[in-house]
């Protein structure tokens, strides 16, 4: 069984979505100034 192009697309899209969201969240949690 070979990983087809559509498989790569789904894998890369899913991973990118999660990693993008993760970077967005942790950047805000760790580095953005808190109001308090």
């Amino acid at each position: 069984m070979e990983l087809r192009t559509e498989g790569y697309i789904f894998l890369i899209a899913s991973w990118s979505f999660i990693i993008g969201l993760l970077i967005f969240c942790y950047k805000k949690v760790l580095f953005d100034k808190k109001k308090d």
Partner: protein
């Protein structure tokens, strides 16, 4: 983070995020998800999976953080008091009682499940199962350890009992140390360690290539193809959508009363929007990226798609505890990778099981004024008594019965209760204002409508479907052997008595409060 009067508080925001993420990241991230994806359309499964992440997972996560922080304002760390604070009706606290029932039942059997991972990490480092050549021998090793059969490896349940005691003691030690010095400290050690172990194993998996050159079709890429090659025609099948909704629901550990308990130790204006989103995303990283890159790809690389499918058909536990040990035997330094694999599962398990203990301990502390020591001692004693039934009657289906009614069906029903109380009775305007208060980011307005209409509708569809498909046949004992029936009925009676006991405690607490403070 400052204190919320005399109640405990979190030491840091990142500690709280890791603690809630630790609650969500469990054995299912590494064992259940890859099997579900492979069996339900491969890459195509990710379409409904992410849709439900947005319309079911994230909204419920925010709602539970919101209910918890709101309840904490009134010094309630468990759902009976939290529901009572949202809905001025004498029934509210009894609906909330199910949050105590569900988390306690899960605590009981999850402690035992977690202890298996501790046992297997010991058996890996000592190479105890090395030499067992095939799947049936490895399954026999697992089943005899669990006391379901006798084999040359284990003639009785003593080793499993010892690891259960160790896990149980670790669990309650952490709970006794409290929110900041116990749960938060554990999360700050266990979560990073879990991620480091998982990344090391995933890197090893990526570099495996084709372990047996004579079988080029058995490769890591075949494993990824098995999970990710999309079968787009499957999207027309409602079962795939329900499987995705179920996976999102279970992976985030919502509907248990634990997230609310953790969030109750926040101040009224601490952010919950960004923190809730961060915990959900951390869980997804563990599940989709790490969980999807270990168990199935490595099993396919060594045994091929057909045999892996057969092995996984026995359930996620067979994949994790019988298939993967066979792989570790065949890897250089396999005992180290086996040790890391089971220890990461142990960390995933124990951070979840302490979360299950916190609501009922908070209940005794907040509603009865018990000291931490007394509350932990009471719950530890009750848990220890109940866990005996799980350990000794496992082969009669006691654990599965508890898992179905509390850990599967019960969660979804409880989530529906809380969303109705929060979004409909407390009111969507109040709820949305409550959620956004102190938020470092604002929840997009569309989520107000998703939370009010779409999320409960999805929950109702899941409940209706499962009621017809599973709950009614399971309730009527369809397919249960005659030998198991008394144990299953006994388990049900036990659970009903537990619910009645919790109702009584809730009733007593409110009665006491009425005469004391009103």
């Amino acid at each position: 983070m400052a204190t919320n009067n005399e109640r405990e508080n979190w030491g840091s925001r990142i500690g709280l995020i890791l603690a809630v993420a630790g609650n969500a990241v469990g054995l299912g991230n590494f064992l259940r998800f890859p099997v579900q994806a492979a069996q339900n359309g491969g890459g195509a499964f990710m379409i409904p999976y992410f849709i439900f992440f947005l319309i079911l997972g994230i909204p419920l996560m925010w709602i539970e953080w919101g209910i918890g922080r709101h309840g904490g304002k009134y010094k309630h760390g468990s759902t009976p008091g939290m529901f009572d604070a949202l809905w001025k009706n004498r029934a509210a606290k009894y609906f909330g009682s199910f949050g105590l029932f569900i988390s306690f039942i899960i605590l009981v059997y999850y402690t035992y499940l977690t202890s298996w991972t501790l046992g297997f990490s010991f058996f890996s480092i000592t190479k105890m199962y090395f030499g067992l050549e095939n799947f049936s021998d490895m399954k026999s090793f697992l089943y005899s350890y669990q006391g379901r059969e006798v084999s040359s490896s284990f003639s009785n349940i003593t080793p499993a009992y010892i690891f259960m005691i160790l896990t149980f003691a670790a669990n309650f030690f952490v709970l006794y140390k409290g929110v900041s010095k116990g749960i938060e400290k554990l999360a700050k050690i266990a979560l990073p360690a879990l991620f480091i172990f998982a990344i090391i194993i995933a890197i090893r998996v990526f570099t495996l290539g084709t372990p047996n050159q004579n079988l080029p079709e058995n490769s890591i890429m075949s494993g990824f193809a098995f999970i990710w090659n999309p079968d787009l025609s499957s999207l027309g099948d409602p079962k795939i959508w329900l499987a995705a909704a179920g996976q999102i629901f279970f992976t985030l550990s919502v509907g248990m009363g634990a997230i609310q308990a953790y969030a109750s130790y926040l101040r009224p204006k601490d952010d919950i929007v960004l923190s809730g989103l961060t915990t959900a995303t951390t869980n997804e990283f563990a599940e989709v990226i790490l969980g999807g890159s270990i168990a199935i790809p490595i099993a396919v690389a060594f045994f091929g798609v057909t045999i892996t499918t057969q092995m996984a058909a026995g359930g996620a536990f067979d994949l994790g505890f019988a298939t993967l040990p066979l792989v570790f035997e065949r890897l250089p330094f396999g005992q180290i990778f086996g040790f890391m694999w089971f220890l990461l599962l142990f960390f995933a398990g124990i951070t979840s099981s302490v979360a299950m203990g916190q609501p009922i301990i908070a209940f005794l502390e907040d509603e009865f004024g018990l000291s931490k020591k007394k509350a932990v001692a009471s719950i530890a004693t009750l848990t220890f008594i109940c866990i005996q039934f799980v350990v000794f009657y496992l082969k009669y289906g006691v654990l599965n019965e508890m898992d179905y009614w509390a850990g599967t069906f019960g969660l979804v029903v409880f989530a529906l209760f809380e969303i109705i109380i929060f979004m409909w009775i407390f009111g969507s305007e109040n709820a949305f204002e409550e959620l956004n208060r102190g938020g470092d980011i604002k929840i997009p307005i569309i989520f107000k409508y998703i939370m009010k209409y779409i999320t409960p509708m999805v929950l109702i569809i899941i409940i209706a479907w499962w009621l017809i498909q599973d709950a009614i046949p399971i309730f009527l004992l369809k397919g249960v052997s005659d030998e198991n029936i008394p144990y299953i009925i006994g388990t049900r009676i036990g659970m009903v008595l537990l619910i009645i006991g919790i109702f009584y405690l809730v009733h007593t607490a409110w009665k006491k409060r009425g005469t004391k403070w009103n």
